[in-house]
């Protein structure tokens, strides 16, 4: 390694440590602070509180059921879309992935608007349930259902990776031996993807454990508290005096999530069977007479999990007040008008979220270039350690990360005396820490596909490493940077969990705006903003889709 690289690696090492390790360590220190064996230490108080155990139980229930629903939906979808000759795969996949990119609080809002006695949609058709009947979504099962829909794409992606590498010849051999389709499924396909199925389920479970938007919108009104909402309520109701206890709670979630991650990684490694090479084209079961019914089934599922709730959201944003049906006489765009032309907070939130998302994406793209380059040149073992370090802040729930950042920055920074707490900068730094791995993954993937010969040639010609990085690696892997950055942008623009605790005057994000509007009873205006956000997200995803053919394979998660 030459000098330039050594300098670069030291710098990056410090960067990773400060972005990923520091918050986690600070949190651990706080949780273990004042640790005595007496009953009065914060951690002991947390462990003694019945609310902790209640929330833990609720978290397990909603995430467990959510993961189960996600597995059914995600696996079913990936089987049909990957293994059969169903028409229009790209479109199915695009719409199936959309729920993952729509912010969870928007998903929750749209489902709440769909059901219940005053649902504008049901009232418009005159089929609303009786007054006083409970809103079915405000329940443990309502939360689980939406968690399942939200994380189904994760299972879908895990399964799909496995399914596309299923060996064609194995199945052809079975078919030649006159095995029935059912036997092929049971004896070949299912055993080969069992581990991927469990790994996808674990991933869905972990992401549901850390989800804040859905249990906050559906659980808090019903008094059904899970771990992330318990932390949020403690912080919102009692403030920084609760930090030690809340840090203890955070550690519980972080531990659960890490256990889930380890399980998932272990299973995924096990699932890599030594198959007979990659098949050049994926398997297509001919559906014959079943094709049309199956396509209708897909369309029905998609309309239930995506189209109808979004339609309900649109309808709810166009009535004058809560609880009214949408008719020709009641139709109004006044909520849009109020939010767009009069409320200064709308513009500010769009501006803040766009700013945060854009610069997080940009900075992370710039960091990923040398970092990815460096990682590819490290010994395998060291690389995997560093890669998992980067993974940690993304895996631990946003609410835990936010607590860690409050702990780190509540006091003015040493030496310079500037306080980051209560500024946009603290959210920005938290985003960098949170999304580094999102940006780095496609970059690493693209770099591992590069032919080393090009670089060796440049090295022989005397080019230093920085030069090689900019003149050779960057142009060849540019699409992957672009895709990584765009993914970060998409996720960050809707972010709620981190900013819910870190926002302050003038620093509202879009997620916070929707959440606060709904909480203060302005659901119609919240729906209007949510509609605008969905349009924005679908637009950016569509844009990404258009560029898909120019990007390396596997960079856009929902594309072949």
């Amino acid at each position: 390694m030459d000098n330039q690289l050594r300098w670069l690696s030291t710098g990056l090492f410090i960067l990773i440590v400060s972005l990923s390790v520091l918050p986690s360590v600070r949190l651990l220190l706080e949780a273990l602070s004042q640790l005595t064996f007496s009953a009065s230490s914060p951690l002991a108080q947390v462990l003694q509180s019945e609310r902790t155990w209640g929330a833990l139980k609720n978290s397990f229930y909603t995430s467990g059921l959510g993961a189960f629903i996600a597995v059914i939906l995600g696996a079913g979808f990936s089987f049909i879309v990957t293994l059969t000759n169903v028409r229009g795969r790209g479109i199915w996949v695009f719409f199936f992935m959309l729920p993952m990119m729509i912010p969870p609080q928007v998903t929750a809002l749209s489902w709440v608007q769909l059901f219940g006695p005053a649902s504008p949609m049901l009232n418009t058709f005159g089929i609303a349930p009786a007054i006083g009947s409970p809103q079915p979504m405000y329940s443990a099962n309502g939360i689980a259902l939406l968690l399942g829909i939200q994380s189904a794409p994760l299972v879908f992606l895990t399964m799909r990776t496995q399914l596309v590498s299923l060996p064609q010849d194995l199945i052809e051999a079975a078919q030649l031996a006159k095995a029935s389709s059912f036997q092929i499924w049971l004896d070949i396909i299912f055993p080969l993807c069992r581990s991927a199925l469990v790994a996808g389920g674990a991933l869905a479970f972990v992401s549901s454990l850390g989800n804040f938007g859905i249990p906050a919108m559906l659980g808090i009104p019903a008094g059904y508290i899970v771990l992330p909402t318990l932390i949020y309520q403690q912080m919102a109701g009692f403030g920084n005096q609760m930090l030690s206890q809340v840090a203890g709670l955070s550690m519980i979630i972080a531990l659960l999530v890490l256990m889930g991650m380890l399980l998932q990684q272990w299973l995924q490694q096990r699932s890599r069977y030594a198959l007979l090479g990659h098949s050049t084209h994926s398997i297509a079961f001919s559906l014959k007479n079943w094709r049309i019914p199956l396509e209708i089934l897909l369309a029905t599922i998609l309309s239930f999990i995506l189209v109808i709730p979004l339609l309900a959201l649109v309808v709810s944003s166009m009535v004058p007040a809560l609880g009214m049906p949408l008719t020709l006489n009641t139709f109004t765009l006044s909520a849009f008008e109020e939010m767009i032309s009069r409320q200064s907070v709308t513009f500010r939130a769009f501006e803040n979220s766009t700013w945060l998302a854009f610069f997080s994406a940009l900075v992370l793209m710039l960091v990923s270039l040398p970092l990815g380059y460096l990682l590819m040149r490290m010994p395998l073992r060291l690389r995997s350690v560093i890669a998992s370090l980067i993974e940690v802040p993304y895996a631990i729930p946003g609410i835990v990360l936010a607590i860690a950042f409050i702990l780190l920055f509540a006091k003015p920074l040493p030496f310079i005396g500037i306080s980051l707490y209560g500024t946009l900068s603290i959210i920005f730094l938290a985003y960098l820490s949170c999304f580094l791995s999102v940006c780095l993954k496609p970059v690493l993937m693209a770099m591992s596909q590069l032919d080393p010969a090009l670089e060796e040639a440049a090295q022989l010609a005397g080019a230093k490493s920085i030069r090689r990085l900019i003149d050779i690696i960057l142009p060849l892997t540019a699409p992957a940077f672009f895709a990584g950055g765009l993914l970060v942008f998409l996720i960050a623009i809707n972010e709620l969990t981190v900013s819910a605790l870190l926002w302050s005057a003038g620093n509202e994000t879009l997620g916070v705006l929707i959440f606060n509007l709904d909480e203060s009873g302005d659901s119609v205006m919240a729906s209007a903003i949510a509609v605008l956000v969905v349009v924005l997200v679908a637009g950016v995803m569509g844009l990404l889709n258009l560029c898909a053919s120019r990007l390396p394979k596997g960079v856009i998660p929902w594309h072949d």
Binding site: P117, P221, P320, A321, F359, L366, G422, D518, M525
Partner: protein
């Protein structure tokens, strides 16, 4: 490359910490739309001042504010929040700046702090609300604990809303109700989650046909066409005054004083009327849908005692409604 990145980070974060001279930061618990109306009217009357504002429930807002104060940042210049008891606690901790507004003489002395720490700007009472399709029509607080209301009532939580905390203090101090009433409410499965906005959502959307709520939210939404009606209970209503106050650490005290004067002026009070609240200033009328001012019966309320009991009230409420 890395150096550039770091430089960029620093360069990007720096402008966010600089504040313009003529901006005023307002923390308020008013609904978004009202807060924006107030700010717009003030900016129109004072074109040289730009107002940044933040809205949240009073309790959550105060938590945020106190966290900021303890980390040495004073963000707001002016507060416009639900209740005088919270203001009293801010006075006790020496966070407020006394200002004797020339407008104060037109107000009843009970509506403002005699040293000028805060001024009530409107009267917000808490009463009952029902969905128009609901089978019963409650007329008094005691109706809510009857069997036909079991699991049918929503109310704001005192752990979240400043008005609800005062409501709790008022009702528990009433001899006919007391803490026993709150225990009965809990037994009758009355839901207490979130603020008044949550109650509005529950009643207007029909999940809970009855509720306890602040007057203006229900009356105003009903006027827009929402299928709900507000009821003034027979025993009387509790009341908060949504006071305005200047922070001791305000960066822009002159602008802050102008803001206080503005909300107390005729223009400010007429705006309050237009927004659908009872104005603090007597004699400029009541908004549509309200009974005459002298017909609104207020339940007795002791501010000093309430401040003393606040923490224990919250804890006791939390024990009844959340502890098991």
């Amino acid at each position: 490359m890395l150096k550039k990145t770091l430089l960029m980070c620093v360069a990007l974060t720096f402008p966010l910490m600089v504040q313009a001279q003529d901006t005023l930061t307002l923390y308020t618990s008013q609904p978004n739309k009202d807060a924006q109306m107030t700010v717009d009217a003030f900016e129109k009357a004072n074109p040289d001042i730009k107002v940044d504002w933040v809205r949240d429930g009073t309790t959550k807002l105060m938590v945020k504010l106190r966290a900021e104060l303890s980390s040495g940042v004073v963000k707001p210049d002016v507060l416009l929040i639900a209740d005088s008891v919270t203001m009293e606690s801010m006075v006790a901790d020496d966070y407020l700046y006394p200002y004797l507004s020339p407008y104060r003489k037109r107000y009843e002395s009970s509506l403002y702090n005699s040293k000028g720490y805060y001024y009530g700007t409107k009267l917000i009472t808490t009463g009952l609300v029902r969905h128009l399709k609901a089978p019963q029509t409650p007329v008094d607080w005691s109706d809510l604990v009857k069997p036909e209301y079991n699991n049918q009532v929503a109310m704001p939580s005192p752990l979240y809303s400043g008005a609800a905390l005062i409501h709790l203090a008022t009702l528990t101090a009433a001899p006919s109700l007391g803490w026993h009433y709150y225990e009965q409410l809990h037994q009758n499965k009355v839901r207490a989650q979130g603020g008044n906005g949550g109650v509005l959502k529950a009643v207007a959307s029909g999940t809970k046909p009855y509720g306890v709520i602040v007057d203006f939210l229900a009356i105003r939404e009903a006027a827009k066409g929402s299928p709900i009606e507000f009821i003034f209970p027979k025993t009387g209503v509790s009341m908060v005054t949504e006071p305005v106050a200047i922070m001791k650490g305000a960066k822009n005290k002159q602008a802050a004083k102008r803001f206080v004067d503005f909300v107390l002026s005729d223009v400010g009070q007429e705006l309050v009327l237009k927004q659908g609240y009872l104005p603090a200033l007597d004699g400029i009328g009541v908004p549509a849908g309200f009974p005459k001012r002298e017909n609104i019966r207020l339940m007795p309320f002791d501010a000093a005692q309430t401040l003393k009991n606040n923490a224990s009230n919250k804890a006791r409420f939390s024990d009844i409604f959340e502890g098991k």
